[in-house]
Symmetry: D2
């Protein structure tokens, strides 16, 4: 931590700051310069909680932090990559692993619309090599007049699709009230971009212990994302997977601007797996595949992709959904890209499926 | 609504689109052009719910909407300005009105820290002319290690400050679970920027009927903000006040970039009151006052400003809090600016205070 | 300047950095901490030119600067406000001053279209109280097929309008080649937003000595703007006026997002006058006036506003031009706002006009 | 083109608009709706030049364009990919082609610093497989106190490096005045991000006929970039290569946010080659390689990468320069990624080098 004093700060003000630092239990190092004095702080093992108070002392111009504000999520805290296993708690799934050498593909419809739809898509994506099924039961929609999802019925259909295919299921959760229901059906909880800083919800999923897919808010910095993950981990849940899905910028040619630089950056800063959602970033099916290839080439640990067996009739976001054949084509391309950086695609676990009646 | 076809769209594809429009109950108007055909849609009274399906028909390039996606919040739905009255439900407050000719100033600490603090600040801001008290009991903090607020004890202290001063109280609510407690103490519910698209919460405060201060998300367009307000109004609660508080841009010289253009724009698009928060946008006390003046000059119906009797010791955001004397100076300046556009500052209602024991 | 070392930096690496600092003629202060060492640098009188070299030494994680990278434009270099006088070099103008207590209004058409147009608008804006005339002769247009301005004929017409009204003229210059022609006709040179980092052009106008209106690039930070002004001043031209005109953000409800926070910020950082262009930011005439009021309330030293006597027939940007009556109404409002912060509007100098033949 | 009328527009106003459209030589199609009337325009072969005038007629709310504003650069104008050949005009180079199936790598130092440096780097990048040499002689620097390049001496050294290696040379040009000198030494002219909308410069390089590398401005939309290319092509120069190099967003973890979505988008909209600069976007050497892989995976036709034989001593941007060994490693990785999408890396032409004395 570095404290920069105003050019006209008095010796007394500098002293006052040094004393305040000492009172907080740290060591102050005053460094007089030609136009101003800077004061270094040492002795802290992490962020200085009361830093704001120092910032407001008279004569202080700025306070520059040199320690990351997060801890549990940081690569310094844990050097080895975290592997998150999904699907071991609810009976019928073939567990999938996110974060290892293999690149894991999650796919499925934007929204669960019907039994026929979710089963058709689930089988299609499994056949093409996906290791997890995505699908929305509770949908955050910008307009109150847009389709809001099937709710619990959607959850039930997802569970049925898991039983039928063995694919673990990830679905979005929007509030703590529905958490018990979602926990009864979903192998992984998704926190959507709009809820990335919904702290009560982050704490609730943290306490649940269930694996969490945390999507980056579209105005969140990488630091904000890591701090949101810290909320979940600080409740005792280490099973967090991060997801880059595009940020809001002035460019209006895509729904969001996919920030693939975040992938290698997060790999440096954190031990958590990072996957990419090329569907929401692009917003157009015909540009999803190039972004999927790019994400894997950048080092992503996986992808989450929207697939619909009849996009023209999808209840939501159909313009960005791949058809099963185009998804299969994407898988073939992505597999080659992964191979080019010596990573295999994750394979479905080779287990005999538990019978649906088992749960 | 206008449908733009691809340059190479066939006559059959154009026919198919026209038939689909007719099936939805609207009228299609094909307009062949030299390179492509456009198809106009008429007969709709609002947004076309199934527009997505048309967008995905073969040969369709783009679908251009010309009707606003919101209804209840729009100026076309209700031409007269909405006046929101705050403080009439819980006994001890002198009701304040937002949205009329008078410019209403809300002020108070970022966070409730102690009985002494909240009472000192409440009396100070009332003396300087504020008509409502703000204060956080539940705080959304980017870091899990930052001070999270006093919770229910904070609510109780805010209610006590209302009893002592007559100022109605606005406080942030972060989840539906705490709604009953907040309703028992707060005259107005604040939805913070990070929760602007927390739809379950929007619906819950909508159902409560209590006046709502809805802050713009820092990556939300004006349209997004109006749609969030539509969520609240569509649950039957017309008492919504909008708040511009800055958006995230590449400029890092302020915490957020205050978008004052939103003020006259919202006045054109909506009948709801719009106020401005210059404190969070600027992030520095010394630049709050110029932005406060500018906001009133732009036509804002009010301001919400952070004040602390001892900013250097504030538990949160002290660097942006005004002291009581600088707040009083701001009030004097803002009153002159308001007068320059023929608006008075709102005055506290001249009621005898109910005794604290009354509630 | 602070050098932050990697957590795993060796003692030898730290030594190497300290030696490199010493070789550059500065003093290094190593501050060992629990996880990493920081090294403070003192002894520099300004930015450290070779800082990059230190950043790349092994073991260095980050280099944090605490000195502003500009000098001549800074408030620390010159404490008193700079007053820029325009119109004293070419005979017929009544000089205007930017930067003093008075708020100066510059107005005129986006583009010079014809003798009739520019004279009509010039007289109208003078009658309403403007002290300078703006008008484009060379226009930077996003499309090569849009009207590009009248060129030298436009300059000549501007000079004629100055002779007729006494208003000094500001016009945009796009390259050094046309500088002699523009210098023969214009009292002030405008550098447009798209050319804010056109360094050869900045140097050329710097060498000319003629007053310069430097518009902020729409992706430029305040620091970038001040550094661009530093280019002009470092060529010996102190007559620089800065202009905030909106930045590019995700919000698409206005052409650009006007950043009024920049006004008080620049007043703190620099001694140069700062004016605001509400026309280009808003892009719509009906929202220009509220932003003009807000800009003056925020402390701007002036405004530059587009006015056209027949906006529906303007060759460019007509949708944002005020008509003469609405400009006069704006002037009345802006005068009241200025008075509310104890500033008068600048008045035209009360000189007898030189006869046109005098130049 | 679609004209949307205000809800309260009169029949007479609608008539007036239709007549205005007819006067411009187009056909108007009025489509009355329940709340407002829309008017379609057909008969135009491109953008409607006088569209602004219609927008300002009374009763008009909005004007929605459905035709792209550019023509020569569009895929509709020319369906086949353009191949740009570089190096055939100045004797000693082995021509390189941008835009074909092969992925072309351009590499070299940020700035030419010395004969030793540029020759060392040129040989290194050639050995690793680059087919063109980049290097700056005239440098646009944000600060006037930063190193501004060697100027003509730098150009001379680049030409010498071409003679020695056969690599065609691309270098930035900042104004029309230096164009003759740059043309005498450089095989390709680079327009930097800050000059993307410097229209006199675009026209000058357009008239020169020399191949142009046009970098996207960091606040430019894809449409802006294509319009800038249209400026060059409309002067008769079809040899334009586009370059994505990152845009300015709120995210401050990289210098710029690389927008790889622009790659497949530009491939759809335009026939021009599009390459990617991962160095300036990332700003850190350790994250250049993942972005380089991602760019090729997204479909880029090439890369332009900064390489320095001793980054710690580079005069500019050393923190983002790859060393020759890390560049060679990048080439190996990029070649595998390209192979995964069935594209080879471009190979140096197998010509005997002309002797230096030949030019």
């Amino acid at each position: 931590m570095l404290i920069v004093m105003e050019a006209h700060a008095t010796a007394e003000q500098i002293d006052q700051v040094c004393r305040a630092v000492a009172e907080l239990g740290y060591t102050a190092h005053a460094m007089p310069g030609p136009t101003r004095t800077a004061i270094g702080i040492t002795g802290n093992n992490g962020p200085i909680g009361d830093a704001d108070r120092i910032e407001r002392l008279p004569g202080v111009r700025e306070l520059i932090s040199v320690t990351a504000p997060y801890k549990l999520v940081s690569r310094e805290f844990r050097e080895a990559d975290t592997l998150v296993q999904i699907g071991s708690e609810l009976g019928a799934a073939q567990p999938a692993t996110l974060g290892g050498a293999a690149v894991a593909i999650i796919a499925g419809p934007c929204t669960v619309e019907s039994r026929e739809q979710v089963l058709a898509v689930a089988h299609a994506v499994k056949d093409a090599g996906a290791v997890m099924l995505r699908g929305g039961a509770y949908k955050p929609r910008t307009s109150p007049y847009a389709f809001q999802g099937l709710g619990f019925e959607g959850l039930r259909l997802l569970a049925e699709a898991r039983d039928a295919t063995g694919l673990p299921v990830v679905t979005e959760i929007m509030d703590a009230e529905t958490l018990p229901m979602v926990l009864s059906c979903a192998d992984m909880l998704q926190i959507g971009a709009r809820n990335m800083q919904n702290y009560p919800l982050l704490k609730a999923v943290g306490r649940s212990g269930r694996p969490v897919l945390l999507k980056r808010g579209f105005a969140a910095t990488v630091k904000d994302l890591l701090l949101a993950a810290e909320y979940i981990m600080s409740e005792g849940n280490p099973n967090v997977v991060l997801c880059e899905r595009g940020i809001r910028t002035f460019d209006d040619s895509a729904r969001f601007t996919l920030d693939l630089h975040a992938v290698p950056l997060i790999k440096q800063l954190s031990h958590l797996p990072i996957i990419v959602d090329p569907s929401h970033a692009s917003g157009r099916a015909d540009r999803v595949v190039p972004l999927a290839r790019a994400a894997v080439a950048a080092g992503a640990d996986g992808l989450i992709v929207e697939v619909h067996h009849a996009p023209a009739f999808a209840a939501c976001d159909g313009e960005q959904a791949l058809t099963p054949p185009s998804f299969a084509a994407m898988m073939a391309q992505v597999e080659r890209i992964a191979a080019a950086i010596d990573r295999p695609l994750a394979q479905p676990a080779n287990l005999t499926l538990a019978s649906p009646s088992a749960w």
